[in-house]
């Protein structure tokens, strides 16, 4: 009930943090693929974050977030012992996890954290899990150790070659698909351009490709339509029909454009916040 932060860790200082929060009612029901909607404070907006991990015994959930605009900057000001004003979940459909041999889980940026919970689910279901994670450089790589704990392989790509192979995750993925016929499914979580690129990479191979869409959300329970995405030509609500969809059917161009809907106001909110901080 308290939504108290039990543990906080800056994974990439000033940019990405991990929170472990006391939320037994959510932890008990959280499945891979689920997310929460939270408000940091009384005047805050509702923002979605993926449940990166859940421990029903300890009654905790883990979230990893990228500090982007005002709401995540506010979240970053909270420390251990502080409470999150509102925390609602678990939301969204759980990942469809079936025995399918080898699953390649591709993660980019903060998406690696979301992918972590999904990969764990596949591992527990008995699938062979290959993680492919990427970042611009070694210092920005998330969750390599956590993934190594249960993944059969962890393949790393960095833009500058400071760790793993130099290049993009899609290059690693293509190489893998070319030599490994046993891959039954691809899961990709990360920035929209990355998920779009993964879907294009896997399309010629005809392997099922699941992506987790981060459309703009408001209520998260299917009432407002803010999160609508076009999948296979039809309108779907990412919060209740998703957030996972078949990547080969998603209109990524539209999704990217819709993510920019409030750009000017987000900047205004952030500037206003920074001004207030400076005045205080």
């Amino acid at each position: 009930m308290s939504h108290r932060i039990l543990h906080k860790e800056q994974l990439i200082p000033g940019q990405t943090s991990k929170l472990v929060v006391d939320a037994p009612h959510i932890a008990a029901k959280a499945r891979p693929g689920n997310f929460v909607i939270l408000r940091v404070c009384d005047k805050g907006e509702r923002i979605p974050l993926t449940i990166a991990d859940a421990d029903p015994d300890a009654g905790t959930i883990t979230m990893v977030y990228l500090v982007l605009g005002k709401s995540t900057a506010l979240l970053e000001t909270l420390g251990e012992g502080d409470c999150i004003r509102d925390l609602c979940g678990p939301l969204g459909r759980a990942t469809r996890i079936e025995p399918c041999g080898t699953v390649v889980c591709v993660g980019g940026g903060t998406g690696v954290a979301a992918m972590h919970h999904i990969a764990k689910g596949h591992h527990r279901a008995g699938n062979r899990v290959v993680a492919v994670i990427g970042a611009r450089s070694a210092g920005l790589l998330l969750f390599e150790k956590e993934l190594s704990a249960f993944c059969d392989e962890v393949l790393v790509a960095t833009n500058d070659g400071s760790r793993g192979r130099q290049g993009l995750v899609t290059e690693v993925l293509r190489a893998r698909l070319e030599q490994d016929r046993a891959v039954g499914e691809i899961v990709a979580v990360g920035p929209v351009p990355m998920m779009a690129a993964v879907a294009e990479t896997t399309r010629p191979f005809g392997v099922r490709t699941t992506v987790s869409l981060n459309s703009i959300m408001l209520d998260g329970i299917g009432m407002c339509g803010a999160c609508r995405v076009t999948v296979a030509g039809g309108t779907r609500f990412a919060c209740v029909d998703g957030p996972e969809f078949d990547g080969h059917e998603v209109d990524f161009v539209e999704l990217a454009q819709r993510l920019a809907a409030f750009k000017d106001m987000e900047r205004a909110a952030h500037d206003h916040y920074c001004r207030c901080q400076a005045d205080a």
């Binding site: 509702r46 209520d219 407002c224 454009q257 819709r258 809907a261 409030f262 205004a268």
Partner: protein
């Protein structure tokens, strides 16, 4: 027969904010009666022996009785009388469609102007909305002690659930209300705008009054996700009331509908009301402020969206409708208020497509001219397109208010609850019970989008049955 109507005094007019002023603020439009006005209006009531007004009221407020107390200047007694039947009178006094209910049935309406019952209810309730004392709420000296062994859960916190909670808690039952959003009140909070129904001054106060009756509110809990109905029974609740409303928005199904700047009324109103986007950036929720706004649909929701857009600074706001103003389903008063404020009714046109700019932002809408043809199944003349007559209208904010459908979120996880083909819950008319024993339902999730007072009526009916099963007094 009621007494022959004496030459009645004229109805006391309701003071309102002037239109030119109110379009620049979110303060309430109707200002309410003063004590003298309320007493004068109350004195117009004939105190009918068989009052038709009460028959017109879905929760049977003892209308002549409360008006008699008011006419005698005893506002406290009037309030207690209202409260015996209506747990949310300050809300109902503002948003009920009285002209088709109590006021519509008032005998004085046959020859002249009916008693302004809703305005009187509002006056009486407003005097006490700041006081949470149990004796004023229930007429009893103290709050009824609640028995923690008798527990009932409500899912959703709209007017139907609030009524169940009010009824059962005054009969000693411990009620817990689970709400998915972060605020309690349902459409009263996220849908109906501040200028018709103040959130902090009225809705929150009436909800808090229920709190003093030991109703427990748990926000951020989603039925079907955070918990199932089965979980609630396992936790020891003896009955569950489902009042989750009808939330899933409908779309127009035309090209360009996903452009930035095209909102559903649900999204637009939720951003503004629940998120307080009118106070951005002091509150963090953003909303697009249109210059040339178009609203699709012509019910109360459309009027609320249009008037909200005006208040947020739009240069022009048009309600786009394929029939005429006379055919609009919204309340007359809402249409008139909107027109006074400058909303243009763009009738006999239907939207064909939205178009955007290179940044994916809405820029214009193409409209098809319509004319009225032969009557259709509803008896109204069917709008038909006039061949070749289309036009383009500039618009950077489009709000779609063409209705909602049943939200399947909770029900998808409870196959034991029977629904009709459209997804609404099927209940026993007399009891409100669903096909799952001890699970009741009411409000918009049963009837489809309806009214606050109908939702309350359904809550009351179910609560009575639940009280009976728990061995509590029923009325």
């Amino acid at each position: 027969m009621p007494r022959a109507a004496a030459p009645a005094a004229p109805r006391v007019a309701m003071p309102v904010q002037p239109a030119a002023e109110r379009v620049r603020n979110f303060e309430e439009v109707a200002l309410g009666y003063t004590f003298d006005m309320a007493v004068a209006e109350a004195r117009r009531c004939l105190q009918c022996k068989r009052p038709l007004c009460v028959k017109g009221c879905p929760v049977e407020v003892p209308i002549p009785a409360f008006i008699a107390h008011l006419a005698a200047g005893d506002v406290g007694a009037a309030y207690r009388a209202v409260k015996t039947a209506n747990s949310l009178p300050a809300i109902c006094g503002r948003v009920c469609p009285q002209e088709t209910q109590c006021v519509g049935a008032c005998v004085l309406g046959r020859k002249g102007e009916p008693v302004a019952i809703g305005r009187l209810e509002r006056f009486v309730a407003d005097q006490y909305v700041h006081m949470d004392a149990c004796d004023l709420l229930t007429g009893a000296r103290d709050c009824t002690p609640v028995d923690p062994a008798r527990r009932v859960a409500c899912i959703g916190s709209g007017p139907s659930s609030l009524t169940v909670a009010g009824y059962l808690s005054t009969r000693g039952v411990k009620v817990t209300v689970f709400e998915a959003l972060h605020e309690v009140g349902g459409v009263l909070v996220y849908g109906i705008p501040e200028f018709r129904l103040p959130k902090d001054r009225i809705v929150a106060k009436e909800v808090r009054a229920l709190g003093t009756q030991q109703v427990e509110f748990v926000t951020n809990r989603v039925g079907g996700k955070t918990f199932s109905i089965r979980d609630l029974f396992e936790q020891g609740f003896s009955a569950v009331f489902v009042g989750v409303g009808a939330g899933l928005p409908r779309f127009l199904g035309i090209p360009g509908e996903n452009l930035n700047g095209v909102f559903t009324a649900n999204e637009y109103l939720t951003r503004v009301n629940l998120g307080r986007a009118y106070d951005f950036p002091n509150h963090d929720t953003p909303v697009i402020l249109g210059r040339n706004v178009t609203v699709y649909g012509a019910g109360n929701v459309a009027m609320d969206a249009a008037r909200t857009a005006l208040r947020l600074g739009a240069a022009s706001v048009r309600v786009v409708y394929r029939r005429t103003v006379a055919d609009m389903p919204a309340r007359r008063e809402e249409i008139e208020h909107a027109q006074e404020e400058g909303v243009v009714m763009q009738t006999l046109v239907a939207p064909l497509a939205f178009s955007g700019d290179e940044r994916f932002a809405l820029r214009a809408v193409t409209l098809q001219q319509m004319e009225l043809g032969e009557p259709d199944a509803s008896g109204r003349r069917r709008p038909v397109p006039v061949p070749g007559r289309t036009m383009e209208l500039e618009t950077d904010l489009a709000i779609i208010a063409v209705g909602t459908r049943a939200n399947p979120l909770l029900l998808a996880s409870e196959p034991g609850i029977a629904v009709d083909q459209r997804g609404y819950i099927v209940v026993d008319e007399a009891t409100g019970e669903t096909s799952m024993p001890n699970v009741f339902a009411g409000g918009d999730i049963v009837t489809g989008a309806a009214t606050v007072i109908q939702a309350m009526g359904a809550g009351r009916r179910a609560a009575r049955v639940i009280a009976g099963r728990l061995g509590c007094p029923q009325d």
